[in-house]
Symmetry: C2
Subunit: 473 residues, 2 copies
Amino acid sequence: MNRALNSVLRIVLVFGLMLSMNLKAQSDAATLKTIYETSLTNGMSYRWLDYLTNTIGGRLSGSTNAELAVQYTKRELEKLGLDKVWLQPVMVPKWVRGEKEMGYFETKGELNKVNICALGGSIATPEGGLKAKVIEVKTYKELVNLGEENIKGKIVFINRSWAQELVNTFQAYGGCAAERYKGASVAAKYGAVGTIVRSLSSRQDDYPHTGSMSYGELPLEERIPSAAISTNDAVKLSEALKIDKDLEFYLKMSCQQFDDVLSYNVIGEITGNTFPNEYIVVGGHLDSWDLGDGAHDDGAGVVQSMDVLRLLKESGIRPKRSIRVVLFMNEENGLRGGRKYAEVAKEKGERHVFALESDAGGFTPRGFSFHCSDLMFSKIEAWEPLFKPYLIHYFEKGGSGADIGPLKNDDIVLAGLRPDSQRYFDHHHAANDTFEYVNKRELELGAATMTSLVFLIDKYGIETITDEKEIKD
Amino acid sequence: MNRALNSVLRIVLVFGLMLSMNLKAQSDAATLKTIYETSLTNGMSYRWLDYLTNTIGGRLSGSTNAELAVQYTKRELEKLGLDKVWLQPVMVPKWVRGEKEMGYFETKGELNKVNICALGGSIATPEGGLKAKVIEVKTYKELVNLGEENIKGKIVFINRSWAQELVNTFQAYGGCAAERYKGASVAAKYGAVGTIVRSLSSRQDDYPHTGSMSYGELPLEERIPSAAISTNDAVKLSEALKIDKDLEFYLKMSCQQFDDVLSYNVIGEITGNTFPNEYIVVGGHLDSWDLGDGAHDDGAGVVQSMDVLRLLKESGIRPKRSIRVVLFMNEENGLRGGRKYAEVAKEKGERHVFALESDAGGFTPRGFSFHCSDLMFSKIEAWEPLFKPYLIHYFEKGGSGADIGPLKNDDIVLAGLRPDSQRYFDHHHAANDTFEYVNKRELELGAATMTSLVFLIDKYGIETITDEKEIKD
């Protein structure tokens, strides 16, 4: 071929390619605009959340409310005209708080009431409560090193303060999770009669924050009651101990662990029109702690995930792949729903290519965290500019979500929505995790952001974001 | 010189330059880390805001509270060990709301109370109130086109809805500002007896949102009362008008405009140790509307600006240039403080190189908007990566702040802090703009973000960010 003609053809080809890429980008930009506008003007997430929180309320696994939430979300998904909606049975633990807990400390004849709550999974105190001297430690490590001679017969007060200097509050939370989760089992081994853990909260206030704890392998008869104390009362107790190290603390809790009960993951699906056997999952967890109404943790993730499927439909998108919303049961104290879903998917040989979880509150979305190979990530990262008009700028490698974790393998991309984290731990697992603290627009922006990513993943498929191994095949 | 030696020398030079740039960047990164950590663990902004809002309260220009705020902030600045603290006198308008407003509409004998408030600057109704039929328009433009025949003798109800589809809520606010500001003057010309304006709010609720309005050149005797109605009640009234276009609306307001009174801008300064005659200003406005306690608008900006000077000191930074905090009086209904400050600066020939305002609420900071030349902007934009660890990603050209606007000239960079905007107009100018809706960490992150930018501008100076004209000199 003539060399000049060859050059011209190459230029035309390159130009055509650039044009088509540009058109493609334009059309993706237009689709994202439709998705965001639909969520902000005609979203359902806030209305669903209103019902889930204000009409139903807190949804601890095994409770009546949890079952009401299963029935309600199934009903609402059925109204959306999806291709399938079903319940996936799963056995879940049933722990019940019982009567409101009581706690106070007595120093120099004065009685100081404190705001406490049982940690999830704790045993009760004796019926009349228990009273003992208190030994304060600042960290789990300090507790481990303290040994029996300092602890025996006492209540261990684990007073680890929140690392306010960390911008990402989840990092600060992670930093003191061991104190809550494992503190009681260690203290019990050293002969303690109970533990009181400073609430894992970014705020100084009067709310005690519950959360799961574990006795590990500790036999039933060696277990001790474990409670959370509000941050304000943790400060007061610590101050009081400086003046009177012999003060006595009274604690009364009547929580109870029952046998496992039957519950469900709620699942809805739009079946893909091109690759129906490739699955994309979007989800949150339906259960919540019992003190508040579980609006941020994780009512927000539930209703946003439901709205992803609805927003795809409302925006006129027909997915190539099968898109599932999965409302997981029992994230808070067992992760049974997440494990069950992955187990069944494996049994059925379902190929999951992408899973996205929203479980960090219904706050203004900032982006996503991706758990996948570097190559997969670099492909996804290229979409970031499409999100710029919506002030979504955070695309980073990192964790995803607890419920989708069990789906992990080399071929799947796991992702977590990353909303602004500043307020999350003001409410997390406390009585003030309630609907009024969720902003409608922030919630809806999150739903739109999730929908947009699901749209792109579905449109361009796993083949463009697959890992090195597969590309060589 | 030997050519090989020359090459080696050049490599060494380039390498040295790269190393020094890298060290400089490292040291800037370390300084920003110190600033952020100091604000989050040892900030004063939240404590100051508590006093300003809960102890003092709403601070409308000319009110006792506004004067208390002047004295309080002056006192607090004096405690910081700045080089100078002073009050700058300025005459401000004094408008007083009077008794709580009353409004209802009567349809088919039924009386429907509505939540209303006078717009700032409005005249009162006659002492017994006024009652008239209602004509609804959707926009200012529709009002302008309606003409006298449809309006005369009626109350004009300007029911412009909020553009929920816009991600930036300030854009939506700007879209309906004419309705509130100019509606009454046009309606009055057409013979209306009053106007009721749907609250400029992103939320459906019962709060009426006040804000300034103007009669323009309209003579006193032709002015008509103008009120805001809550978004919920705007919907109700609009629905009722569809059924009964002859319904009557009752409105009673007793607001009053007094003669101008003396007030003050509050100013504090750290005098620069190298270029004391170059000024950097950071500020917010001390006045607020009277319905809430002015926590977000603009108590947040006031305390953040105060903390900028304190955080510089706490972080061991000795500024080269003179850094001033200016707490402007009367942004809400006159801008007299902003104008006065610029006027005095001009008289004294003070060279201002940079001014930063925080007046968009105490929410999580997302970045800055810059009003300056493209060249200046490109230099500033190069600092954006330093802010990445703090999730600050928004560096854009655009507006800055009302109070610093009068300082504009070719040699100054004006900037506005840009916090997350989703919740701002839920509270703006309403009774729920209160302290409890400000999150401590979000506020402190804003103060740190402002301090960091001021630090960089001061360190590298205007010479590196000056405009083309000056570079040629």
